[in-house]
């Protein structure tokens, strides 16, 4: 059987890839995808723990995370489209009206 640490290592790796993506990419859509990657790394952690602890709570949590992530994507894409209509860009470096 694949040991628990392997799952944790993979999910930790995926989470860090997501964090690095958020920090370095400038396209709002790609940043958003990186955040989804982080959420899926969390899901993997939950499922792995759930399996090794023989408890169902982790599975339930994953369902909630997926549902919420779906809702967030709906709102997020709508916001990005509204922004694109007004500014014709989704590059976050060019979106800087608010500062001070």
């Amino acid at each position: 059987m694949v040991p628990l640490w392997a799952y944790l290592l993979l999910s930790g790796f995926l989470f860090i890839v997501g964090v690095v993506g958020v920090a370095t990419r400038r396209n709002a859509l790609i940043i958003f995808m990186s955040i989804e990657l982080m959420l899926n790394a969390v899901n993997l952690t939950f499922v792995a723990f759930s399996r090794f602890l023989h408890s169902l709570d982790g599975h339930v949590f994953v369902f909630f995370v997926m549902t919420v992530a779906a809702a967030e994507v709906v709102v997020g894409l709508a916001i990005i489209i509204a922004l694109f209509r007004n500014m014709e860009t989704v590059n976050v470096d060019e979106i800087h009206l608010l500062k001070g």
Partner: protein, 485 residues
């Protein structure tokens, strides 16, 4: 996890169900009303909020009820529920006019405010980390939409995008922390976590360390503690003004309610080596918030930075970690809600169409042009600065005295210095209003009854909390005792 239909405590869920029904009612009724009559949706929302408040006041002091091991309804959550409902009601009052001017999507606006309020209530009642997460998202997702509500306005778009990206980023950290805690404890129930962490050895588990650390980072993002505060000024400046008022008062109270639940049950007692980092965060939050607010010209942005500073004062009480400290947070959040919503009611009353971010200079001579507005704004500024005889003074007094009792004298001295700095930029508003000549072309605005009611309520509440704080303070003490003996 065992849930059966017959065991559900419907009485305990009643406030949540009532608010959900109101929110769905406004959404549904929006379809049948002609645009001219949609202002009635605001009154429907207000009625729902008032009935829910009456229900909570009636239940205050009653027994603790637990719904399906997920939601706790005790005096602590009742206190916070009342604060949230009050914030939502005042927000709806100050929104009516600007939402009406905006024209479209009136129903959605009120529905989203009500659903966000529901999310706050879930956070304050959370008995399980699942509920903390769900409440947080039920609060955040409507707010992402609301901050981008002016679809044609680029600033509003930008605010929504920044809020969404950083909010979702922070949620991922929070969730990762929850996942590790689950791995270490085997449950996400706050009580089980508390029982597991009760023996000090459990804290040496690296999973617990990672879990608590990431959980705290996620929560620090939500309360906008330095160094996780960068998103807040941009989001609050770009969002429509009534929405900013709602966020500034509501999300802060909700985030702190969840923070107190987590600290008070799951992480209590916190090992002493966790205190210094919190101490530093509280200090930085106060310092950065106040110093950045000094140089702001936009009044919305100034209040946004000041809200970071106020989060810092509240963190001082969290560091103190005593039951008295927690009570002072509850008291302060009530005052904080009134003074911010009041100040934003003035900003909304003075805002003219097309001018999104009013600067300080547009308040010149307000004392002569509009004595009522200027007087109430002065009261709110005095209270934000923490000067007697306002509620802001009493709030700070309770927080600082709790911290002194817990032997954090150094932190309190820094906090007092920070609030002295804040006097400068709050009173600058008063000086501009009363000592500068009014500019040409600034007509006196006609106040709508809704704004007048809000101003009256907020001013009266702040003066009352400043002069006779005992009633609310006793409630706050009793509420904290209900979940944390």
């Amino acid at each position: 996890m065992s849930v059966t239909g017959t065991q559900l405590d419907w009485g305990g869920m009643a406030p949540f169900l009532l608010l959900t029904a109101t929110a769905l009612g406004t959404l549904l009724l929006d379809l049948f009303l002609s645009p001219r009559h949609r202002v009635r949706l605001a009154y429907l929302g207000l009625t729902g909020l008032l009935i829910t408040m009456a229900l909570l006041v009636h239940g205050f002091g009653g027994q603790e009820r637990v719904v399906a091991e997920m939601l706790i309804v005790d005096d602590f959550s009742r206190f916070f529920h009342l604060v949230f409902l009050l914030i939502a009601a005042l927000t709806i009052l100050v929104s009516v006019k600007s939402v009406e001017q905006e024209g479209t999507h009136q129903g959605e606006y009120y529905t989203l405010v009500l659903f966000a309020t529901l999310g706050m209530m879930v956070m304050a009642s959370a008995a399980d980390l699942i509920m903390v997460f769900l409440g947080l998202e039920a609060l955040s997702i409507p707010l992402y939409i609301l901050s981008g509500f002016l679809r044609g306005d680029v600033r509003s778009n930008e605010s929504a995008l920044k809020y969404l990206l950083l909010g979702a980023f922070a949620s991922a950290f929070l969730l990762y922390g929850i996942a590790f805690l689950y791995g270490a404890v085997g449950s996400t129930r706050l009580k089980s976590i508390a029982a597991h962490l009760g023996h000090g050895a459990a804290w040496e588990n690296p999973l617990v360390f990672l879990g608590v650390g990431l959980l705290l980072v996620g929560l620090a993002f939500k309360v906008a503690a330095v160094p996780f505060h960068m998103w807040l000024p941009d989001v609050y400046e770009g969002a429509p003004t009534p929405v900013t008022a709602f966020m500034i008062a509501g999300t802060k109270a909700a985030a702190f309610s969840a923070l107190l639940r987590v600290f008070g049950t799951a992480l209590s007692p916190l090992p002493p080596e966790w205190i210094p980092p919190l101490w530093v965060v509280a200090l930085l939050t106060m310092g950065v918030g106040n110093i950045a607010a000094l140089t702001q010209q936009s009044i919305k942005r100034m209040l946004a930075y000041s809200s970071i500073a106020h989060a810092g004062y509240l963190l001082v009480a969290v560091v103190a970690g005593t039951s008295r400290g927690f009570s002072s947070i509850l008291f302060y959040l009530v005052v904080y809600a009134f003074m911010n919503l009041g100040a934003f009611a003035v900003i909304i009353a003075l805002a003219r169409q097309g001018e999104e971010s009013p600067t300080l200079s547009s308040y010149a001579g307000l004392g002569f042009r509009h004595p009522v507005l200027a007087f109430s704004m002065a009261v709110f500024m005095f209270s934000l600065a923490g000067l007697p005889p306002t509620g802001g003074f009493m709030g700070k007094f309770y927080i600082f005295s709790a911290a002194v009792e817990a032997d954090y004298v150094g932190l309190v001295i820094i906090a007092v210095v920070c609030s002295l700095i804040s006097v400068f930029f709050y009173l600058r508003v008063v000086v501009v209003m009363y000592m500068e000549e009014p500019r040409e072309g600034h007509s006196s605005p006609v106040l709508s009854p809704a704004i007048l009611v809000t101003l009256f309520l907020a001013t009266a509440a702040i003066l009352q909390l400043g002069l006779l704080p005992a009633g609310v303070w006793d409630l706050a003490v009793r509420s904290v005792q209900s979940f944390w003996g």
